[in-house]
Amino acid sequence: MIRLLLSGLRVHFLQLSRSAVEVVSITVWPIIYATVAYYMFGAESDPDVLLTASLGATVMAIWSSVAFSAGGAIEIQRRLGTLELLVAAPIPFGAVLAPITIATSAIGIYALGATLLWGRLLFGISLHFEHPVLFALSLPVAIVAIGMLGLILASTLIFYRAALFLGASFEYPVWLVTGLLVPLSVLPGWVAPLSWLLAPTWGMRAIRESTVGGSPLSALAMCVGLSACYAVIAAVCLRAFERLARERATLALT
């Protein structure tokens, strides 16, 4: 299964890297988000706040990549005619789909590097990490958790072609609800329980607390727990949607 995951990641990265549109959007968006975030928080602010803002921009970029590309990847498979071949393979479809969504989420590693370098060069933010080991752990855990959330979104696309737009329409609300744009404290109280169910909230918290100080372990544990829950939900959804797609003949439709 690990080999399949790595093989899927490799194929998906190769596919992405050979599309000029994908490469440009992946390269440019994190820098735009980072610039907006720096100006929102003000260049004169506390260096910790600026660092937090840049990390928030990273998580925004990860989520945007997943919301758009995870769905887009299924559509690409459908257009290439490979979706049917992957569904007809003797392995659970989730094992084929997970590398695709995790690959799109892993683009966040680039987003992190680009954002921090941009912040350092243009705004002179200091790159000091309070818990460097936990920070190094937080990023992949957050990437997998967000990738698994993307897997749930992507599973709907096997059946509903229009779900591509559904994924895109989730981009901004998730930024808002998970506190990536504005602190959760300024949002209505009912938003908090909703944010607890979303991996970007905890991913962001783990990354922030391992950077500026605090206890990131509980946020990390929540990310791991949510990843497991998402995996179970995605497996159930994939099974149900695959059966519906076989019943209603939507696998080959483009």
């Binding site: 399949l4 005619g81 569904v87 393979a89 059966r243 076989r246 080959a252």
Partner: protein
């Protein structure tokens, strides 16, 4: 239905319908019956052809058998496993290859495609490399495997499809119009590959609408038309259905629909079909052997310009036209 261990594929009363929506604001759903209770079986190691015109139900049948579609009614088994309830067991034992340009990662090399599908089809890592080499050799792509698929010709893509379908060495292969759009040389090479696979003991279900292909390759054929199987048998059996007939091939220019219609009512005529070959219409008239046909036929076509007129014995294609045309 009980599973017969001698059979690779067993289909009984298979039906499949699709819901089709019409209209933008007030959508009306209607049902399209693609398969109307078809029954057939394929023995292990047999190369079986499913022949039919476009929209007859060939691809729907293959998609049900490859577990991509659920049947609306009836049952289908592959190597004893039910395609609806035991999809995983079926998937490990089948290969699915379809014709045309799709089904590959164009931006990747053939080797990257095969490596990925080898993982997806659970080929053990240790045997992947020799298996891929062997298949590249089999389909004649050795030496070109590191080139991107988007630079391949249609024939090369089709051969790569075959290699992909064989990665996990499945005992049963479903080939859905594999020679579609290939040039004559590419199609011939692919037919040779298919024949070699059958000699190697694979069970193959081949769909095609090229009669000569079915005649050359298939041990038995089922002719499907409008979702129903109208005949099953060896190519010789099907030809013998019209062995009491003769075929007159008339090359005509400017024959109207009315003239063609009048040909059908000439005494002794069983069927009439028309093919367009560049500027000419080639009218194929099947009639009872011994009937005096030429004069009455040419009389009905007197306002058209007539080229060659050739009487000849019936072929499998004539049998097919007769079967499909009569439904």
């Amino acid at each position: 239905m009980t599973a017969d261990p001698a059979l690779a594929v067993q289909v009984v009363g298979l039906e499949r319908s699709y819901r089709v929506g019409k209209g933008v604001f007030r959508r009306r759903a209607s049902e399209l019956q693609a398969l109307r209770g078809i029954t057939f079986s394929i023995e292990r190691g047999e190369l079986f052809g499913l022949l039919g015109p476009n929209g007859a139900g060939k691809t729907t049948t293959i998609k049900v058998l490859t577990t991509l579609l659920l049947p609306s009614a009836g049952t289908a088994r592959v190597l004893g496993f039910d395609v609806a309830r035991q999809a995983r067991e079926v998937r490990t034992r089948i290969g699915y290859v379809f014709g045309g340009d799709r089904g590959l990662y164009d931006r990747l090399s053939a080797l990257d495609n095969l490596r990925y599908f080898a993982d997806v089809y659970r080929v053990p890592p240790r045997t992947q490399r020799p298996r891929i080499d062997e298949l590249l050799e089999l389909v004649g792509l050795k030496g070109r495997e590191r080139e991107r698929v988007e630079t391949y010709s249609r024939g090369m893509r089709q051969r790569l499809h075959i290699a992909r379908g064989l990665l996990h060495d499945p005992p049963v292969l479903f080939l859905d119009e594999p020679t579609l759009g290939l040039d004559p040389v590419g199609a011939r090479e692919l037919r040779q590959t298919i024949a070699r696979l059958q000699q190697a003991g694979k069970t193959i279900l081949l769909t095609t609408h090229y009669m000569f292909e079915a005649d050359e390759l298939c041990q038995r054929i089922a002719v499907i038309s409008d979702g129903s199987i109208v005949a099953t048998g060896t190519p010789a059996d099907l030809k013998s259905r019209i062995s009491d007939r003769t075929v007159v091939e008339i090359e005509a220019f400017g024959a109207s629909d009315e003239m063609i219609e009048r040909l059908r009512s000439v005494a002794g005529v069983a069927s009439v079909s028309v093919e367009l070959r560049e500027q000419a219409q080639v009218i194929l008239v099947q009639a009872s052997r011994g009937a005096e046909l030429l004069q009455p036929l040419l009389r009905e076509l007197e306002d058209a310009r007539i080229g060659k007129v050739v009487p000849r014995p019936p072929t499998l294609e004539d049998a097919y036209v007769d079967l499909v045309g009569s439904t």
